[in-house]
Amino acid sequence: MHRLSPRIKIAATFLLVAVTMGFPRHPDALYWLPALVLLVLWPLARMPLGFALRRLLMAEFFILGIAILTLLAPESTPVLLSAIIKSNLCVLAMLLLIWTTPFHEILGELRRWRFPAVMLTTLALMYRYLPVLAEESARMQRARASRTFQRKRGFVWKNLSGIIGRLFIRSADRAERIYLAMCARGWR
């Protein structure tokens, strides 16, 4: 699957996601269709369970956050279940895609499909700078930890909020420098 053309993989993923989202808004036997496709493709892609579960767990916060909104409607339980199942199937399909296809190939293909340039630039910058931000945040946490001598929960939360605030300011500074560096090479 890794050697398959990115075009086919992206098209198949989009199709699977679209079909899944088009299924009825209550649990239905049709849901087995994308689930079976994923079950067949998973061993072919050799995606490690840990890789998928970690990322699925991160997405779960957003999925549940949105799914809970359906509780506002009457007879909401089947809709809630449906939203959770369908969203998880779609995220798993996306995970299979990113596990089998390097990110720059996905971007290249989307560029050929004439996706909006602003969206692709945003995706590329996000992919490029997430590790930089993570590294910066880890450095700040280590520096804080080296001068932290108590383990009270309130103090830890206060520290964490300070780090998040500093990270935000540093990111804004970095964004300014990145913009200058882009302009220096002719970007307008």
């Binding site: 720059h104 590329a124 490029r128 590790p131 930089v132 560096a181 090479r185 002719g186």
Partner: protein, 251 residues
């Protein structure tokens, strides 16, 4: 002597009405010259470099203060000037914005309208010049600091600049990375302007030195006599380089 860059009466205040960062600077750099810009932190070195590429001031002044290859830097020719003056930033992570090395090196030339096989061969050639052949598909965040810096340089070289402007090019490099990068800079033709605290690099690479302090150009001249003047160096937050401690200023 062909002049690569000429600066006349350049002053700059950080907005709005902030402190004076550059105070009436005038100097020129010849087409094949390598010049160092020295000074303590906050002297205005990086601010000066941003001016040379037209990134500062926010709007180019009506009366030009900078000439590149004899052409005045104005709002009308900003793109051409930015192509001619290649600026290497201090932190490679600010400069490497793309998902792969090849895309990043291609970023500048693409802005100037290049694409297709011509662009591909330019990218390959620039990576070769920077000593990174075959790095096209590597991801920038997986490179070492020294490699990142070389990719940045390849991205600048791909724009075919006539002047290279480098901000602290050897900071954060280990001795081997520093040595390799110095050799790479020595091999590149054209004018170079280097803002740095690495005085040994200056002794090895630069024929002339400009010393800035509080935005003013306090001294300029040949490298060895100027850096050997211990009084001058100490007065402006610098130190005589170790390699010159036992060397006569005039050879």
């Amino acid at each position: 002597m062909n002049t690569a860059i000429e600066v006349r009466g350049l002053s700059y205040h950080y907005p709005p009405k902030g402190r004076l960062a550059l105070d009436n600077l005038s100097f020129s750099v010849a087409a094949d010259e390598c010049v160092a810009v020295l000074g303590p932190n906050g002297a205005g070195k990086s601010t000066l470099l941003l001016h040379l590429n037209g990134l500062l001031p926010e709007r180019p002044p009506a009366v030009p203060q900078i000439w590149v290859g004899g052409e005045p830097l104005t709002a009308d020719n900003l793109d051409r000037i930015r192509q001619q003056v290649g600026l290497l930033f201090q932190d490679p992570d600010d400069q490497l914005i793309s998902a792969t090395v090849a895309e990043d090196v291609a970023f500048g030339p693409q802005q100037f309208g290049l694409d297709g096989p011509v662009l591909e061969s330019l990218v390959e050639h620039s990576l070769q010049l920077a000593g990174l052949p075959g790095f096209q598909d590597r991801e920038p965040h997986r490179l070492s600091h020294g490699e990142k810096r070389r990719v940045c340089l390849a991205g600048v070289l791909a724009c075919k600049p006539t002047v290279l402007v480098l901000d602290e090019p050897t900071s954060d490099l280990d001795p081997r990375g520093r040595r390799d990068f110095k050799r790479l800079l020595q091999s590149l033709p054209g004018a170079k302007i280097i803002a740095t605290h690495d005085l040994e690099l200056v002794v090895d690479l630069c024929s002339r030195v400009l010393i800035l302090d509080q935005g003013r150009l306090v001294a300029q001249g040949a490298t060895v006599p100027l850096l050997s003047d211990e009084g001058l160096m100490l007065a402006h937050g610098l130190e005589k380089p170790h390699s010159l401690l036992h060397r006569h200023p005039h050879g």
